[in-house]
Structures are given as structure tokens and as C-alpha cells.
């Protein structure tokens, strides 16, 4: 656990970057620091590994004040990932990843074996091991950055806007990858971002900071969206707060109809305006409108129980039928959520 105990940072020029900040980052969880540019996120993060020393207050690592630990020793026990990855351009990928093991005096072979393990763990081709950072894409470099931070298996991971410099598609996959890794590794992670959507997606808890380095609200994402503490937080969360809340509503209880699917090739009348055509394996093929039985219209799917109501609603909006298709993990249709069913679930979400 990381504890901020009334921490203030005043730079020599008088700027107060962090003001009387107190919060805890629980062990094994992702705590996200989010806020507008210049609100003291980086400063807060760097005070944990003493790249910056606090002016007042204490920061504790499992109860031990970091101020009492020799910086290089402290830092070798804390993984650190930054926006531009910060890879060493003159070292091959495998040696970049093995940086901290080398510093800790592991022998070369063991350090490299460990590095190869991590390369695969973060979803990279082992063939990249012998390349230099310049030969990798931005997204790949970022993965190497994560692998490097994890190399010596530190209990704590600090991440400073690690995914902000890559394009949105890569960013999404890196975020998913981080969540997958975290489910296996259970690190204590402090993650800094200015992107509230990223904060909500990744955080077990989210600390919203306002300019001047003061804590505006600390809450889990669901509570943050439902009960913003003040106007600043409300504004920072943005306009589609309601839609985003649906991210936390499960599709488990969504009422599904199973009488709207027909096998491929079948014909014949039905009183229903739309029918879902499925193939021999039970996978969706398209929607057939009663009025135009010769054509198939696009469909949208969500994985029942795993995806949120937001995904289910999104899937419905993707199809002219207005219904969304519930599938299982293998992609087989388990039922159809009609507009009425979605409506009921939304009404429940608003009240529940």
C-alpha cells in the first residue's frame, strides 16, 4: 500500500504543484490520478520514487517512509513507465527489458531469460528481442516499456500517461493488455492520465486532482460517475456521464428473447418485423426484415454477462433492427435483446 500523508510540493520558484494531498493506493489495485494538465499528477507520482522530494508530509510504502530509503535502491523496487517509453536507444530490446535485473546484479543469462519471458507476457513477438527501439512501432515500444518496468517483479508500478502518445486503437489494446496483466500479477499500480475515460476504464479507484494539486474527489469509477463531488468534477467528467455509467451495469440480468432467430436458408412468414439469421454453428449472419426478406441487414453483438449495458446499447444502435444480439464467449447467439428489454434494463439502471 502507498500512503500519501498530507503531502505538499513547493518548487523553488514558489509553484505549489501538490497541496496537502492525502490518499491511499491499496495493494494490488489500480489507483488512477486524473486531472487537467499541470494539476500535479507527474509531481505526485515522482515523489513516490523520490525523483522529486516532497516539501512537506510523508509518503509511505507499506508503512515505511520513502524519504528514508536510498533513491537508487528504492527505484529498483518500483517499476516506472512513461509516455515516450523512455527506452534506451543504444540497447537491444532484450537488454532494455533486463535493465533493472542487470542493475540488481543478476547474471546476464538469468536476466535475459527473464526478459524473454516478459517479452511474451506483454504480447510481443520474441523475434523483436534483438532489435533496437527505433525499429519498433510506438505501441510496441510502450509494451517494451511495461515489460521493462515489470522485469524485476516489483510490487509497485508507477505509470505516467503511458498510453497517451499512441493512436486510439493501439491505446485501447494496451489498456486491455494492462488489465489482463493486472488480473494475473496484482501489482499496486498508480496510473496517471488526463483522460477521464481511461481513468474510468482502468481504475479500481480514481483520484481527481484540480489545478494547484488538491484532491477534488477520490472514489471508485461508478461512484464518481453517479455522484461527482462538485462542479469541477462534474465538468471534468464531461457530458455523456450518464451513458458512461452504463459501463458499470451488467448485462447479466438483461431479458433476452430466443424466439427471434432462424437458421440460414429458411423462409416463411413470421409476425415479427425482424428476424436474426444464424448459421449452422449458431453464429449470427444478419437481420432479415419482414418487408425485404431477400436482404440481410447488419447486426451488433455483446457478450452476455461480460460486456456492459453500454456495449449492449451500442450494439443495438448499430443495427437498423434496433435490437442487439447477445452471444457467448465463443460468439454463438444466446438470444436477442429487444428495445423493450433494453428499455427495462435502462430504467432499472437509473433507479438502481
Amino acid at each position: 500500500m502507498i500512503t500519501f500523508d498530507a503531502v505538499t510540493k513547493r518548487y523553488p520558484d514558489g509553484t505549489v504543484a501538490v497541496d496537502d494531498l492525502s490518499f491511499e493506493a491499496p495493494t494490488g489495485e489500480i489507483t488512477v490520478l486524473v486531472g487537467p494538465s499541470g494539476c500535479g499528477k507527474t509531481t505526485s507520482l515522482r515523489m513516490i520514487n523520490r525523483m522529486i522530494d516532497a516539501s512537506e508530509g510523508r509518503i509511505l510504502l507499506d508503512g515505511v517512509p520513502v524519504q528514508g530509503i536510498d533513491p537508487p535502491t528504492l527505484r529498483r523496487g518500483i517499476g516506472y513507465v512513461i509516455q515516450q517509453a523512455g527506452l534506451f536507444p543504444h540497447r537491444k530490446i532484450v537488454d532494455n527489458i533486463a535493465t533493472v535485473p542487470y542493475l540488481l546484479g543478476w547474471d546476464r543469462k538469468k536476466a535475459r531469460t527473464r526478459a524473454m519471458e516478459l517479452l511474451e507476457r506483454v504480447g510481443l513477438d520474441p523475434a523483436l528481442a534483438g532489435r533496437y527501439p527505433f525499429q519498433l512501432s510506438g505501441g510496441q515500444q510502450q509494451r517494451v516499456g511495461v515489460a521493462r518496468a515489470l522485469a524485476a517483479d516489483p510490487p509497485v508500478l508507477l505509470m505516467d500517461e503511458p498510453f497517451s502518445a499512441v493512436d486510439p486503437i493501439v491505446r485501447t489494446s494496451l489498456q486491455d493488455e494492462l488489465l489482463r496483466l493486472q488480473s494475473e500479477l496484482n501489482k499496486t499500480i498508480v496510473f496517471v492520465t488526463h483522460d477521464i475515460d481511461e481513468a474510468i476504464k482502468l481504475g479500481d479507484q480514481v483520484a481527481v486532482l484540480r489545478v494547484g494539486g488538491r484532491l477534488a474527489q477520490l472514489a471508485d469509477p461508478k461512484t464518481l460517475l453517479a455522484e461527482p463531488a462538485d462542479d469541477f468534477v462534474r465538468e471534468f467528467l464531461g457530458h455523456d456521464r450518464g451513458i458512461r455509467r452504463l459501463q458499470f451495469v451488467s448485462t447479466e440480468g438483461l431479458r433476452l428473447r430466443t424466439d427471434l432467430t432462424v437458421p440460414e436458408g429458411s423462409e416463411g412468414g413470421s409476425p415479427e418485423p425482424w428476424l436474426l439469421v444464424v448459421d449452422g454453428d449458431g453464429r449470427p449472419v444478419g437481420w432479415r426484415a419482414a418487408a425485404r426478406p431477400g436482404e440481410l441487414e447488419p447486426y451488433g453483438t455483446f457478450v452476455r454477462g461480460r460486456d456492459s449495458m453500454r456495449a449492449a446499447l451500442d450494439a443495438a444502435l448499430l443495427s437498423p433492427s434496433g435490437c442487439s444480439v447477445a452471444v457467448d464467449e465463443q460468439g454463438k447467439v444466446v438470444g436477442v435483446a429487444t428495445r423493450e428489454a433494453l428499455d427495462e434494463a435502462l430504467a432499472e439502471a437509473v433507479h438502481g
Binding site: 527505484r75 529498483r76 515516450q84 523512455g86 536507444p89 535493465t99 533496437y132 527505433f134
Partner: protein
């Protein structure tokens, strides 16, 4: 050929290794010594000075100002002045050339260290490098291409400048030029020019080779960029 003046080859063969102080072979070794030693000296001196200038920025301005003045001094009068200190020895040529080298290499070291991206330096700190280890394992290797580029300039200009020392009797292959000046006879001049240029090419080639071996990642970067 009879009694006419000897051809280029004949002259070269006759004077290559006469055992005297003015044999081409001796002049060549002298030339190598007098141009190589200043380069090494310059590197040894410029490295710590450059590091200091990069570390304490306020030092850089006055140091580079002073070094520019040194660089602007014409070599011949400096050699003359040196005679009063070191006499007519190789040192008289070596010391000024070393100063010229320092003047070129200090900015090269500073620029090289400046070429280390801030995020790379920061991440080295965050990984737990001690300052010394960070310098040796991260900053200097990344600065190496710029320093080596400076070293190439120093090596080639040093090889070329040694010849001027011939005017005080210590010019290595430059001796071949002064001889021709006294007695208009072309072969020594041609041999001298060819050997000096060849020497410069060899030195530059070796440094390029060193660059490739020491910094393979630079080529990787260039390929990635193209």
C-alpha cells in the same frame, strides 16, 4: 633514363628507407605520431571538460569562448612561440594541435550529452541508475556518435596541420613540401600530398569503422527513418 631527373617511382624507391632522418618512411612515422598523439590527448582532456560544461552550464559559455579564441590562433606563430618552451621537438607541434582538438571536442561532448533525450535520462533515473553508472552506461554511449563525428574532424585536420610544422623543421611529411620549395622538383610534393591524403583517409576510415562497431544502433535508426 640516363642522367635526367628521376621519375616519381624511382625517386620514391630511392628515398623510402635511406636510414636518414629525412627518409620518407621516417617522415611518415613522425607524421603519424605527431597527428595521433594530439587526438588522443585532446579526447582525454575534452571528455572531462565537456562533462563539466554539460553538468555546470555556466562553465560552458566562457570555456567555449576561450576555446574559440584558441582555435582562431594561426598555427605557425603558435609553433614559433612554442619553440621557446619546448624547443625544436615534436612536442612543439603536438601541444598546439592538442589544443585545437580540445576546442573542437568540448562542444562535441556537450552536444553529444545534449542529444540524450530527456525522457531517456529520466527513465534511467527512475530505473535506479546511480549518477555515475547512468553517465557511463546510458549518457556517454548515446553521446558517442556526436563525439565520434567530432573526433573525425579532429583527426583529419590534425593530420593536415602537422605539415605546417615543417617550417620549424618538425612537420613529418610536410618536410617533403619545404624541400620542394627550396628546389623546384615535383616528385616529393606529389608523394607528400598523396601520403597525407591517404593517411587522412585511413584515419577517417578507421573512425567510421569504430563508429559502426561501437554504435550499431545508429545505423538501425537511420534505416528505420528511411
Amino acid at each position: 633514363m640516363g642522367d635526367g631527373p628521376p621519375s616519381l617511382w624511382e625517386w620514391f624507391g630511392r628515398n623510402w628507407d635511406t636510414g636518414r632522418a629525412d627518409s620518407i618512411r621516417t617522415l611518415l612515422t613522425d607524421h603519424v605520431t605527431m597527428s595521433l598523439v594530439p587526438v588522443v590527448l585532446a579526447l582525454v582532456v575534452a571528455l572531462p571538460l565537456g562533462l563539466a560544461c554539460a553538468r555546470w552550464r555556466w562553465l560552458y559559455q566562457p570555456t567555449s569562448g576561450l576555446m574559440n579564441v584558441v582555435y582562431a590562433l594561426p598555427s605557425l606563430p603558435v609553433f614559433m612561440l612554442m619553440i621557446s618552451v619546448t624547443g625544436l621537438s615534436q612536442t612543439t607541434v603536438i601541444v598546439p594541435l592538442a589544443f585545437y582538438g580540445v576546442a573542437v571536442l568540448i562542444p562535441a561532448v556537450v552536444d553529444g550529452l545534449d542529444s540524450v533525450p530527456d525522457h531517456v535520462r529520466q527513465s534511467a533515473v527512475a530505473m535506479g541508475f546511480t549518477p555515475l553508472r547512468r553517465l557511463l552506461a546510458v549518457e556517454l554511449p548515446i553521446a558517442a556518435p556526436v563525439v565520434l563525428a567530432g573526433l573525425r574532424v579532429v583527426a583529419v585536420s590534425s593530420i593536415s596541420l602537422v605539415s605546417v610544422g615543417a617550417l620549424i623543421g618538425q612537420g613529418g611529411l610536410g618536410g617533403l613540401f619545404t624541400r620542394a620549395y627550396q628546389n623546384p622538383f615535383m616528385p616529393p610534393v606529389i608523394v607528400g600530398i598523396v601520403l597525407v591524403v591517404a593517411l587522412a583517409l585511413v584515419a577517417d576510415g578507421l573512425l567510421v569503422l569504430a563508429q559502426r562497431l561501437l554504435t550499431p544502433w545508429v545505423r538501425a535508426r537511420k534505416e528505420a527513418a528511411s
